[in-house]
Amino acid sequence: MTNIVEARSLFKSYGGFVALDNIDLCIPQGAISGLIGPNGAGKTTALKSLIGLCDVEGDINVAGRDPRVARHKLMEDVCFIADVGILPKWLKVSQVLEYVEAVHPQFDRSKAERFLSTTEIPSNKRIKNLSKGMVTQLHLAIVMAIEVSLLVLDEPTLGLDIIYRKEFYDRLLNDYYDGNRTILISTHQVEEIETLLSHLIFIDKGKIVLNANMAEIADIYAEVLVDSDKIAQADALKPIHIRNLLGKKSYTFESVPRAYLESLGDVHTPSVADLFVAKMRGQRNESV
């Protein structure tokens, strides 16, 4: 399985603030990777560096190219959607399609128009007169009609109504993803995408806290609803996080074989959201 993104020792600082602290980022082809982290963690900086919109130090190879050297060539293979609403406000819908058609060799206009026909977006309206949700629909329709090997989405559903958000991920998964294309999504709304993802990357304060695929996660991490009489035993196994849940205590363990945990109570794989909190809290506790 080749990696479509191979980035090592990425470093970026703004004045005294370190946005990326020598991180490695490798994403296998065909993965749907979630880059998850709190605001200010470095998600946007990391993503922008992969598509050449942000100058960072380190080695980067995306789809066989260094994004800092020939961004425009890279854009024939990679597509990017930033936070909602970056389509130019003065353009008409028909003009966007016309422009992308002339400019992008892999754009299939009829495909985009087919996607658009399922929305309520009129082709002669200006983008400034479309709702936020429609702008995202339009941008997604365009992107889905472009044949690229990597799609990078930076908080694509930020500020959208739940209907548009759900539709966005529906389309992404059903109409776009075919097993060969790679998708890299960043978000801080974990719950929304956890069922989509094949790979997880947690980032906090410019450092990578976790980078694994979902199968590995199930092997490594476990959450146990510990019976009250087994608390001492549970503590001895050094959990990375403990929280109260409906009157019982929920322990999260890392790299502890399930066999040991079975006797303590209900064992299950933590949800991405719970794992995220556990790792973040765990990191912060350690540094105290």
Partner: protein
């Protein structure tokens, strides 16, 4: 240069046109309407006799039949268009690399396979070749309407209108001259274009203030610290109208394909290169 790159480039020019219709078409169109109304009002202040005399005189002038001789008179009418064109171009260039950074639409443009060099070049080609077309078109409409109106009035007054038919030929010559003049003036002022683009790409706010402020600061420093005048000598040559104002077609190539024109391209290219890098590296 394969066909695809050519199509891409035309798409860029189309995009510039879509984005700047107000500057490119609106400004000269409004000016044309204003001038037409002003002429109309002036003409309506004259008595029939005065008007008849003026029209007779005008007809006589154009009866000379050589449009290359008569065209320069129309240059007077062209001056407002030239001035408007200059101001619109300055505004255009200051906004060219600034506006899309301000509203973040740059993230969309840069997600397309278009290089920053292509982008900057398309903006220069727009003001050299594309934009003057619309100014000249507005002038053509103004001239045609004026000639039509004056002809109608003149017939009504029984003036001597023999030369009027030659007005159209003079008009055509004048329009070609003005188009050529606008295009070559921009090329002559390429260093200015580069300077404006550089600050358009650099400034987070108020690119015009940066562009003007830095220039004066530089000149000030040069004069008071080094006691030399290289910058102001250069500016004086560059902005001396005598160096690039074109009245008729004679001697054009000598004046324009000159050392000063070429060195201007070198300096312009330096600043334009700076603006291309600025677009790539400005956060």
């Amino acid at each position: 240069m394969n066909q695809f790159r050519v199509l891409q480039f035309f798409a860029l020019l189309r995009k510039e046109f879509w984005e700047n219709r107000n500057l490119m078409i609106g400004a000269p169109a409004v000016l044309a309407i204003v001038l037409f109304v002003v002429n109309f009002l002036v003409a309506s202040q004259l008595s029939d006799e005065q008007l008849s005399t003026v029209l007779g005189y005008v007809g006589e002038w154009f009866d000379v039949q050589n449009p290359f001789y008569t065209a320069p008179v129309l240059t007077l009418l062209s001056l407002p268009f030239v001035v408007v064109y200059f101001f619109c171009s300055v505004i255009y260039l200051l906004n060219a690399l600034y506006h899309d950074r301000k509203d973040m639409s740059i993230l969309f443009w840069q997600s397309m396979p278009i290089s920053n060099l292509q982008t900057v070049i398309s903006k220069i080609v727009t003001i050299v070749i594309v934009s003057p077309l619309f100014t000249v078109a507005a002038m053509a409409v103004l001239y045609s309407l004026s000639i039509f109106y004056l002809t109608v009035v003149g017939y009504g007054l029984g003036s001597q209108l023999s030369g009027f038919s030659y007005m159209l030929a003079a008009m055509a010559v004048n329009l070609s001259l003005i188009y050529f003049f606008l295009a070559t003036s921009v090329l002559w002022l390429l260093p200015l274009a580069g300077w404006l683009l550089l600050f358009s790409g650099f400034a987070r706010r108020a690119p015009m203030l940066w562009a003007i402020g830095v220039y004066f600061l530089l000149g000030f420093f040069e004069e008071f610290i080094f006691n030399t005048r290289f910058l102001s000598n250069w500016a004086q040559t560059r902005f001396d109208p005598d160096n690039f104002i074109i009245v008729d077609f004679s001697g054009i190539f000598d004046r324009l394909l000159s050392y000063d024109m070429f060195i201007g391209w070198v300096v312009g290219a330096l600043l334009i290169t700076g603006s291309v890098y600025m677009r790539r590296h400005a956060e």
